[in-house]
Subunit: 343 residues, 4 copies
């Protein structure tokens, strides 16, 4: 019997992407797709790419309907999942939050960066940070998963082997990151209009971005020391894709290509390219993979890691489905074996 | 002494484009740039391309300040200019409305398409439709000019020689038009986000678009018979540029290349390309010109006219400056002699 | 046992798209991927989106290797398939040509438009035009299928119900079509550089385009009278997607929405949208579907049909896989049930 | 009397951009525009944006015709100017090379990076590196100017005040740079097709790029010590614009905003934005300006400088015209006072 799946807030980009991935999942059935604003209208009227695949209308969020699901995704803005998660968990429904409510363990830090009071502080410790390459076993057993942010996925996977191995000066990490505009969500705003963000490039939030403490927390945990990398995000004139260019200084010598290849040898969704490669964001368009390459320009101690993901897939909905597969005891790659759309 | 110029509503794309063109105009001085919402903030803080060129802050709209100008541009949404025009005209200030308030002579038609009651019906008859290639003499003498819409400029200039000459079946005109998204203005809306309108193409408003009656009015006046062309607009995944592909049937034979070349021989801002050319929107990017080419595929009676403009220049701000030059008795091409930005 | 599939010329966009679709096809196995120029190099080195999905190197084309396949796709330039098809057919291998070699029945017409002598005129009559919505039964029995052109697919499917029903004046058909640049192929040319074709829009080949006689042939066959529509292609500043805007005049009244819905009711890959819709190219990005909407602006006799496809999928590789499924007796939609990638 | 100007190799992007800027220059006259390949064809047939502005045909390069000019621009590939410069200088004609022939003082370094033997080593020492903000006086007196590369302009101007002041650890400089594709020139190549470079982002040449030694040379000269910054270029899916994100560590404390503002106070074409700003590439589209902002994220010793230019203007043709104005004793900003085209 198929597992019952609910999606809360499926009118944004991570919601429609969850639907795109799940319609071909042989083990699950989407039973409930909620939207307060669009309750009653058909899902495929808003997202015509789903015509013929989704025969559902949005419903108003209801604890009863959601509690009947085996697992519920929150594809909502920050601050929504934390209000309903306890009720669903109490009813035996597993929860994956694609927003940031359960990502940061230090509640004071979370409240500072997200500008609100946490509604379920008691769940924060239990929530598992949903990066399978780091926490696979815990995810399998989790009731509540905090799906990682898009930038943190690309940056953390790119740095993981270096930080785990203790080969670099963790005080000097720089993450120069670039994202397509779908990362800003499906919100009516001037600065992400095509006439504003198209044919244009800029940095933003250089003074501070919410994904910096998330990255810092994960890297610090791995390194068992406090790390606060420099994190500079930029906005790309395109829709999907994140490219992280990561800089670090080696403190001892090692064969990095071998290090990365070995670390990710059994990871289904991390692809270490041959030395000297330049991963392109389009190679992961629509695909649940983080593709990376390691460089040592000039053969100095300076390492440059290039890491790309589709922010809506491995950076959001795809990783959420990967987590769902683990939480439901299914094969981890179910419904996720699609090559990127190139060109 | 330089003429004093005011711009009402300079926070949209036609406003910033007026500023870009006027900062190098030797005969005018911008004395007043209004915005209710942004009063007090510097113009170049919103539009950093103007840093070093515009040393002004937005002010709240005031009849006194505007009445001290020789000429005022309304770069506002529809329905604003009609409320202030009479006051300014009474004070001896000339007015150019870049919106649609004074474009349609039949007030009932205007009210139907624009969904509001006209606030200055007494001015509609006096207002001159600001297409210099059609109404140059009247524009020179006008107090109030209705600057044409972007689509109507490209379509009307493309069809003008054919309709004037009586060579085509005016009942069968089709205007298949394509516009960059800046035509939708600098408004926070979902459908013009880069993540929605980028890498995408669609028709819109096929059932009816406000520019259809404007085109119909002008062509009908020229032809002295009622014309209602089929008008299908499409949204291009780019910022600037309109391409009109115009279809008509010849009712008698003629040398169309010669007809167009002769009609526009003395027009500074219409460029008839050699037979067989395909005008590109980028060739007019930032430039005040309508560039066109005439085709007779298969040498049948079917004519295909290709006509391109920059919707913000010849389709809005550039044409408004051209009208201003005429109204102020200046050389028509002052501040408008810039080639397009290619690539 | 899986069927053995060969792809000739898999270094272009239709080739990589065939691979993307076929790697998840449960009934076939790609055994041979040829490229004269890149023989010996890995397929996934050129197309890194296929890393982990395709473990093959390009081989030099060889009749022996290809003859061992059950079916061979030619994803080559025009003029290649016609040289090898007879040999393969004689060996019992079925052939689908994604180029134009077998699309035009009148060999003189073909030779004029394609500028070369036909190498296999004896096969032209046998070849089946691979539009399943028109020729499904013949495709099932075919040894040799001519996969339709991208524009012809969008235009023909858009007009099919009108022409079949005899409701329009077939002499007045206009097809104003717009295509993303991937339609031009993966060839080093100046005019399709990002710096040339990006942020730009133009018509091209207005005097005549090879897809016009292909469309004319199909429509004429359906109508049993000679039709030569006006066909004006344009180049969109985006990668994938064709939008056809089709104009016709009704000669008798009918419920067109009903006509189209009924005609395509059992077609798995044609989607007739509700009346008043505007199909977007992005809704079919990566998907094997032609999505369309019917309009009657002003409720006159003028019909406007909007029809979109992904030129590389329903306009090329997806339709080829659909044809392959039919030719091999497999379920027609195998490996083709993926929603479009939106946003 | 106007100065006579020649342009060699005006069929590329820097050539057409020189023409765009010079057609409105009141003190010069373009007398000679050469192209071996397109000799005889009209300039405005290739670049229709120049219709009405340039009434010239390309001519085959000839020493006689070029020697009759007061100044000649080489908008050619690398390795061309070095073959003709001596002849022109001997004839009293000044020369500006927009390519790299005279940028690197160490001829062995040049020959290694550019893969050819230098044809005029005797001129290398005399050639002045044409960055007016660094070498204004020498440019005024120069016969031969090496116009800087696009990346080096953005990077060097961004770092100049820090390096001059000795405030940073010059061993740790990182330049993470991003460029639009017009930087690759108007050459038929697969990797810069819209279908390849559009909707995509990647790093390239991480192992080594020709602009690295150019930047290293200039910074080393300023610092009077050998500097070899890490330089990682990336390709943006857009046409014009470079964004350099520059990382350095302060070794002593200073008011950087004040430092930059003071250093560039009298520079007409450098714009230091208010602290906390994020310069956008579109704000300099078509404009001869380098716009920058200084950041101290977290108020640590880490400095982040954001620097943007239009690679074809301040990064090439605009800077060349600025140099020409200096060399000819004209006002430095003649023909260069145009705001950027936004949106």
């Amino acid at each position: 019997m198929k597992r019952k799946i609910g999606i809360v807030g499926a009118t944004g980009y991570t919601g429609v992407e969850l639907l795109r991935l799940l319609v071909n999942h042989p083990e699950v059935e989407i039973t409930c797709v909620t939207s307060r604003e669009h309750a009653g209208s058909r899902v495929d009227a808003m997202f015509p790419n789903l015509r013929g695949y989704v025969d559902l209308a949005f419903t108003a969020p209801s604890d009863d309907a959601l509690s009947a699901c085996d697992l519920v995704f929150f594809a909502t803005p920050n601050g929504i999942a934390m209000k309903s998660a306890q009720t669903l968990l109490d009813a035996g429904t597993k929860v994956i939050d694609l927003a940031a409510d359960f990502r940061i363990k230090d509640i004071a830090v979370w409240e500072k960066w997200y500008g609100m009071q946490h509604a379920s502080p008691q769940l924060v410790e239990e929530a598992v940070y949903g990066l399978p390459e780091l926490n696979r076993a815990q995810i399998r057993d989790a009731r509540l998963v905090a799906n990682p942010g898009c930038y943190p996925t690309a940056v953390t996977l790119g740095l993981l082997p270096l930080v785990e191995s203790g080969l670099i000066d963790v005080a000097g990490i720089i993450a120069d990151t670039k994202s397509g505009v779908s990362g800003a969500g499906r919100k009516a705003e001037v600065h992400t209009l095509l006439a504003e963000a198209g044919d244009n490039f800029k940095a933003y939030a250089v003074a501070g971005h919410r994904h910096q403490p998330e990255i810092a927390q994960t890297l610090s945990t791995i390194a068992r020391t406090s790390i606060s990398p420099v994190f500079v995000p930029h906005l790309l004139p395109m829709i999907r894709g994140i490219h992280a260019t990561l800089y670090a200084m080696l403190t001892s010598e090692a064969d990095l290509q071998q290090l990365y290849t070995a670390r990710y040898a059994h990871e289904p969704f991390v692809d270490v390219m041959p030395a000297g490669s330049h991963p392109e964001t389009r190679s992961v368009r629509g695909a649940n993979v983080c593709r990376m390459a390691i460089h040592r320009p000039g053969n100095t101690a300076r390492v440059v890691i290039l890491s790309v993901i589709d922010n809506l897939v491995k950076g959001a909905a795809g990783q959420a489905v990967q987590n769902m597969n683990l939480m439901l005891g299914l094969a981890e790659d179910t419904a996720l074996k699609q090559p990127g759309l190139l060109p």
